[in-house]
Symmetry: C2
Subunit: 166 residues, 2 copies
Amino acid sequence: MKLSEAKQKFIDSWGTFGTKWGINRTMAAVHGLLLCEEQAISTDEVMEKLGISRGNANMNIRALIDWGLVKKVYQPGERMEFFIAEKDIYKVAILITRERRRRELEPIREILKEVKEVEDKTAEGKQFKKMVNEIDEFAGFADNILEKLTKTDRLWMLKTFKKIMS
Amino acid sequence: MKLSEAKQKFIDSWGTFGTKWGINRTMAAVHGLLLCEEQAISTDEVMEKLGISRGNANMNIRALIDWGLVKKVYQPGERMEFFIAEKDIYKVAILITRERRRRELEPIREILKEVKEVEDKTAEGKQFKKMVNEIDEFAGFADNILEKLTKTDRLWMLKTFKKIMS
DNA sequence: TTGAATTTTCAATAATTTTTGAAACTTTTA
DNA sequence: TAAAAGTTTCAAAAATTATTGAAAATTCAA
């Protein structure tokens, strides 16, 4: 396999992978492209390499910046903005996990908290409360782990891994 | 909040939550509904309670069965099929994690394995390989943890939790 | 067997999500 | 300050994904 072919395959797959994680295909493809590029590249290069419009490129680059996965850099003498991806995959994983926790776990916990307060003494009501409580307890468990995981560094992660495996 | 209102809110939110996890809204809503029901219910009840068509109800119930989240049961004297959800939230989490690992992590690892084999001695090629290798190493780390997590039970999970937190 | 009850399939339609591209806006240079 | 260079916005269009509903297939009781 040639390098250009391998890069293409990686970028496409990263895009497809993104869709399964609730991220849109193009955002993930832009991320994949930037992971492949050692140097910062411009919006025009992203547009050209992925064959997408300026608006689309701009929006998805901004989204990646919001997630903390991409940084804006300026080239000396250049007026244009250039972009570079965080390459440390542990940091990438932490950033993604942190954002997903915030966007997915927190909202559901709020809902669970609300519906737990239901006033109902019937058997049906008790069963519902029990079910909701168990989900919330589990969500708390997951939340704690994710918080620890995302507040830490590679070393802690490796240590934890060893602990778990022992 | 009344019980019916709380259930409705829970079901709707579970549906929305699903969309963020790459599951379609209706599949998650059917799951939410079944989590609320102590007894097994029929396709017709699912259709009626969620206001969806027979085809839609059928497809999403089958999908939930594929994931192992729902079981088909027969009521004595009834020809119709009834469905009941797994209520143990730890088991639910394990089933979902197992399925997502299979659908999301495995395919990307296969791609990484392929693109790692690129023949290229240039600096650019080396950098690409290094990047892909790091991702694959991390994916392996995640894979191991998920495998352990999903091959085990609630007790192991709690023990692990304590280990991590200490 | 037969046929009524039930489940499944899938082409057509609807709903949702993504993308485009040009206008508006902002920043920088001359 | 003017205008060129670059960035952002967003309504309309395109693409994708989900849903319907009726026909086909299956199951089961008689």
